[in-house]
Symmetry: C2
Subunit: 501 residues, 2 copies
């Protein structure tokens, strides 16, 4: 990337301070979920609030804002345009939202999170209900402040994927949901349906599992001088800074695919972060990337590589060293175990086909709440009805139902769809990659991950936020976001496994 | 602590932002020495430089400076006075030093550090010499900018212990050096001198040693929900934030007192930080504490507890579980091993008696360079002569001589004396404690560390930087900093060990 325009150069000079705060925040968050002593939480929260406020002041600094506005009118190359576009989005976000409202939202999120946690522990939606009512109001206000053309949901979706609209989401899900429902039905009726797999109970020793995860990432190409893997309650990725990208994973002592596939999933995010930080450190272009694009990367590695037959077969010996019970299972068994299609109560335990239905349910309910069509008091009932309808299972309590996810306590509405859209996009990206590199399974079988990483870096990662995400999607895949590739990939893989074709 | 004055309240409100940056910096430094991937170093350094600059701007913000100046003229309680005093020191530091000079100093420190590291690796002083010459000039300029009444060294010492002057240092060392030299001579001639102890070669397994360290700290009263222990190249303590104080230690696989006593030493710093952060979070009173006072706390735990006969005897069984070879050694043997007096080439390997001589040599040489009496080119020779004179040993090369310490590459002159003065003060504090609590050995033997921590918290820690350090020293000990207690403690302990009385 080369920045030549003097105004943009000056913008980047000032941006270094914002970047430094963001680097510090990245580490403060990482530490909070990995090594921070428990009693450091309150002070940490206060410091993060101060740093947020400071960062916001620097973004809204009149000198800075003027530079960005001025640059907009100048003759810019793609990178420079990208920088100005991303910063303008940040500036407008803060300009549109009154400080009082931002503070109110932060407070509601904190209280909402606490109430949600208690409600979930006690499996009692009533504890959470008033907070969710408040949160729905705040989401409506947020949409009004941010502005939209057709539907308030548009304003919220746009935060996670610039340009994403309610109608796009509806279009995609109107194809996905019937497919997934019908497909699940077929699996259940196939005679090959597996309600529980023996390997789900197979134990492992934490050290061996960690070695396996490290071995897999090393084969994928992890550079351990620029990368770390630690442990946290929920796996996540943190692009802390240039030359410093970190993932976390988890260990439960049994059911080794949970740890392995979480590791592979986060690795997908990490590769993306690494390339962007190498290309765009000290610029806003490595930040604010579409959640859909980011999730497409993690899902690509998790589903198209980690759950593939070639991956299972090529790592089978390593798996056996980590999980003694594998002695009794063939690679075929493991492949099935990695790809069980099954109606689950919990989203985080769902396979990639039924996952679509979990997300559809959530996005439909949040839109209904936003529209005022669904009173929050009726949410648990609506949840359970949709679970019955889509997945044929009904939660025995709200903890395993409507209260299972944290998102409605403190994240904006519009987040959930990005999970499913990322999954869909990962299949489109795979198709595009195979047009250039040939069958992915062959590369995976040969442990030839260099070309895969190189292709992703050149086609996707190296743009960062230079272009709007839909532009990047079209450049990579030659088409708009669309569910066809995902559907044919799923029919092919799971059809074979369950003898549907 | 209660702050009532409205001006000081307003100061503290603004100070929260400075505190948040400092919290972030604490964690960034901790991470740099513990978990940061190697390739993250350059970016980390850039971010820290930006945050330093930002913090400096906030300190020098005219609105903030005016509040501090205004508060000075108001009727304040002790805490409020302390807050204003500490902030005024910070403001004046930045006001006195031109930004260009600060940048020059930072650059010289970075280059000097790199040159020092290379010179040490190659054991070639010539590589470092021009950088040290530059550093001496910078130290002179620094002293001029900061201002002093009698001697430029005063200005530098004052940074590390407010009010400390060259003449105080000279006074103390004029008693310490003859004592330590004479005492070392007596030990060497005693017939009980031990040139090498068998336990120095006794191996341990890292996990067992870590368990021992954790056990000892738990008995000392460590609250692991507010405290961590990790590993780094050199042990250090980082008061990251309220409820979050961290030490690091090291493991060499043999010579277990090195790991144990480093852990105990850092624990002393950590207890101090913990109490201050509990009392003074969000105020400047938990920062900028005298290095002498801080070191007195680490030395108190390391020498007066960790090297005591009662400690060795009361933990002997735990030691044996960590170090198999202890099977062949009695508690008496271990006590001797913890208290070997021996002329060493390296400061960091010195016992507490000869340590005085290592420090004396350094402070005398840095004053001579500052005064221009000693040209840098002649430093290695001067170093070796003083080593011969004070300790009777001469380094075989500069790596183990004049290049052994990092300080002259990037720390201000005036730092070294605080190590010895802290050691001296720890003996005074012990005497004061024993007047209140009775013999320390008895408390240690009973593992009764609660009263020890409570006493230190009430008498020393809970003041933070409220008063000038010498005021705190007088409040605690009833006298000024003075070497008498240290001398009689050393004569007593080592006299017995070596049969000198």
């Amino acid at each position: 990337m080369e920045v030549k325009n003097p105004t943009v150069k000056e913008i980047l000079r000032k941006y270094r301070r914002i970047e430094a705060i963001s680097h510090a925040e990245n580490l403060l968050y990482w530490d909070m979920d990995t090594y921070m002593p428990k009693n450091g939480a309150e002070y940490r929260g206060d410091a993060l609030a101060e740093l947020d406020a400071l960062s916001q002041e620097l973004v809204l600094d009149p000198g800075f804002v003027n530079l960005v506005r001025r640059a907009e009118g100048e003759d810019l190359n793609d990178y420079e345009k990208g920088i100005v576009r991303v910063l303008k989005r940040d500036i407008e976000y803060y300009e549109k939202l009154p400080p009082d409202f931002l503070a109110e939202m932060a407070r509601a999120a904190t209280l909402g999170f606490q109430a949600w946690r208690e409600a979930k522990e006690k499996a009692d939606f009533k504890i959470f209900q008033p907070h969710l009512e408040r949160w729905v109001e705040i989401q409506r206000k947020l949409a009004e402040y941010l502005g939209y053309e057709e539907h308030p949901y548009d304003a919220l979706l746009d935060r996670y994927h610039e340009g994403l609209r309610y109608k796009n989401v509806k279009d995609v899900f109107s194809e996905l949901v019937p497919f997934a429902s019908k497909f699940l039905r077929k699996v259940l009726d196939s005679g090959a349906y597996v309600p529980r797999h023996g390997l789900e109970d197979a134990e492992y020793c934490r050290e061996d599992m960690e070695s396996l995860n490290r071995k897999v990432l090393t084969v994928f190409g992890a550079d351990w001088e620029s990368f770390r893997m630690d442990v946290s309650t929920h796996p996540f990725t943190d692009g802390v800074g240039k030359g410093d990208v970190r993932i976390t994973t988890w260990y439960h002592g049994r059911d080794f695919r949970r740890s392995l596939l979480a590791t592979v999933h986060e690795w997908g995010h990490a590769v993306y972060e690494s390339v962007m930080l190498d290309e765009f450190a000290y610029t806003p272009l490595h930040t604010g990337v579409s959640f859909v694009l980011h999730e497409s990367q993690s899902r690509f590695w998790e589903n198209h590589i980690g759950r593939s037959r070639a991956f299972v077969e090529s790592f089978y010996e390593e798996f056996r060293r980590a999980v003694p019970a594998l002695f009794n299972y063939t690679p075929d068994d493991v492949y099935l175990y990695f790809n069980l299609v099954r109606p689950e109560l919990l989203r985080v335990e769902a396979d990639e086909v039924t996952y679509i239905l979990h997300i559809a349910l959530r996005y439909e309910l949040e839109v209904a709440m936003l529209d005022g069509e669904l009173p929050v008091s009726e949410l648990p009932q609506a949840w359970n009805e949709k679970m019955e309808d889509y997945l044929g299972v009904v939660p025995p309590d709200d903890a395993r139902g409507v209260l299972q996810d944290v998102h409605w306590s403190s994240h904006s509405f519009g987040y959930f769809p990005t999970y499913a859209l990322g999954t869909v996009l990962s299949a489109q990206i795979r198709s595009a990659m195979e047009r250039d590199l040939g069958p992915l399974e062959e590369l995976v079988r040969e442990r030839s991950y260099g070309p895969v990483r190189k292709w992703l870096a050149e086609k996707v990662h190296r743009f960062g936020s230079t272009f709007q995400p839909d532009v990047i999607i079209r450049r990579v895949t030659g088409e708009n976001l669309s569910p066809e590739h995902f559907i044919s990939y799923a029919e092919e893989r799971y059809g074979k496994i369950y003898g549907l074709k």
